[in-house]
Amino acid sequence: MATVVAPVPGRSRWLVLMPYVVLALATLPILVLYVWLFYSSFFPRVEGFRPIGDLTFDNWRFLWDPASVPQMRNRPPVIPLTVNTLLFATLTSLISLLVSSMAGYAFSRLRFKGRRVFLGGVLLLHSFPSVTLLIALFVVLRTLGLYDKLVGVILVQTAFALPFGIWIMKGFFDNIPWDLEMSALVDGAGRLRTWWRIMLPLVKPGLLALGILLFVEGWNQFLLPFVFMPSGSQQTLSTLVRGILGEGRFVDYGLLTAVGLYYIAPVLVLFVLAQDQLMRIYAGGVKG
């Protein structure tokens, strides 16, 4: 952490405030967008930043009366889409957590043939943009019979999330002293039990932080569900937002902002609740 220097009275008080002023100005546009998104969803129309008409919940009708919203007519209902998105985000993060924590442990602690090559390979995979693999993935999913199925997209998303997860978890395991592990071995535990009873509890902050990041990533993922689940029932919320946006000539901004807000609300809540955990992934390490 930065050292706190007691402010000298007078001129330097401005120096202390400077960073806040700069940061506030830089954050302002983003903040304005969020506020705009929020109130736009409660007015019939917004021109620029000026709302037109009276406060209304009309834009939110898609939740309780989708039939009355023309843009929603040929689409699957919102609730199953939400469940799909939730399933997608939860399962991808859980599977990634399990695999990353095991692989991270192995990379951190075991010395096996090809360890360095694997580690390098994992890093290389991380730098691959998913777009470049779409066609190959399409062929693979088709062959396996997983095309247009939620399971297939979950597996693909997990695969893309793993390199990051493995490296993060390896870092957390690296910070655990060897003594603890030797001690567990002498105490009578095998490798698997050492991992489960001693190592995993010590990287819990890492698991939580990584879990949240992966969940958010899954929740926000658009490309993979859009490409690999074209038919209606298996889609996610991100594809719904895109559907409304790409409706044609007339975009109903009221509806779009309401659906958008509905879509990002869980993520915002999660971020607020989990701020402390998320900080740790960058602060790194295990608490003493």
Binding site: D179, M182, S183, V186, D187, A189, R197, L202
Partner: protein
Amino acid sequence: MRVVLEQLTKKFGDVAAVRELDLEMRSGEFVALLGPSGCGKTTTLLMVAGIYRPTSGAILFGDRRVDHLHPKDRGIGMVFQSYALYPHMTVAENIGFPLELRRAIGKPERDQRVREAAGRVEIDDLLDRRPSQLSGGQQQRVALARALVKRPDILLLDEPLSNLDARLRHDMRGEIKRLQKEIGITSIFVTHDQLEALTMADRVAVMRNGRLQAYATPDELYARPRNRFVAEFIGTPPMNFFPAELGSRNGSVVARAEGIEVELTRAQLPRGEARQATMGVRPEHLSIVSPADGNVTGEVYVVEPMGREQIVDVQVGERRLRVIAPPGFTGRIGDRVGLRVAAERLHFFDPTSGERLS
């Protein structure tokens, strides 16, 4: 349980950390592995524990060869330098962990044995705490209780006292020694502190560069060090050394060094031929006398009062000798003093091989 190491060798790549180590520990014996850092003492301990696999050689517990066994199958308890307490478990869970892994021991018996082990090291009132809420000394006790709870045949201690402050270290030294004798468990501990080794162990194995230098009781190591390295390493302040010349005069052996001339008994150097040697004398075997009475004279270089005694550095010719003087000594820097050498306490080593002569 008797422990035998036979021709034990461990190489990391091309570097040999331990070379052809032969060591035998009797059942119930408390043995210290002593040496400067990098001498291979911890590597040896980790091989006994089963964490490192020996490159060659054998480890026997009793008559059973164990060097192919996993740590969990060796019947050992171990205390680590860092204590290695599991931070997410309470004291009771830490102590109980080795038992948790044994199916034959049910929960009630486990609880009872945890309390018993905790009682032995006097931490019964801390069982619900977490390691982070304990002082260094208390953590050390928890580590001991965890090592002993499964009633191992052999107890291994890796620098058990080095993380404690000086006063606590003194207390724990006595306590670990007493506990070891009470239980009668064969114990091996690793230390770089010769005082710890001398005060606690029944026998001390001195190591350097992966090789055994000496293996003897503390008394013997101190009184008759086998080579120059051991002589230098054991004892504080360390022994004074100087090149000497051995010759005979009127039928007795005489040693000459830096203006000191001492007559020796036949028993000290049975083969009294004339030769070069390294002479060693411990600070406590030199005494400060008036310049006329000493074997040699010198000038006080510095005086360090230690309470019970004083360490006086005396400049004799080119060399500076450390002498232990009683608290009453009032010499000042620059004073001329005489030094008397206790001839029967002199040590002689071969100047090239460093081996003890006699």
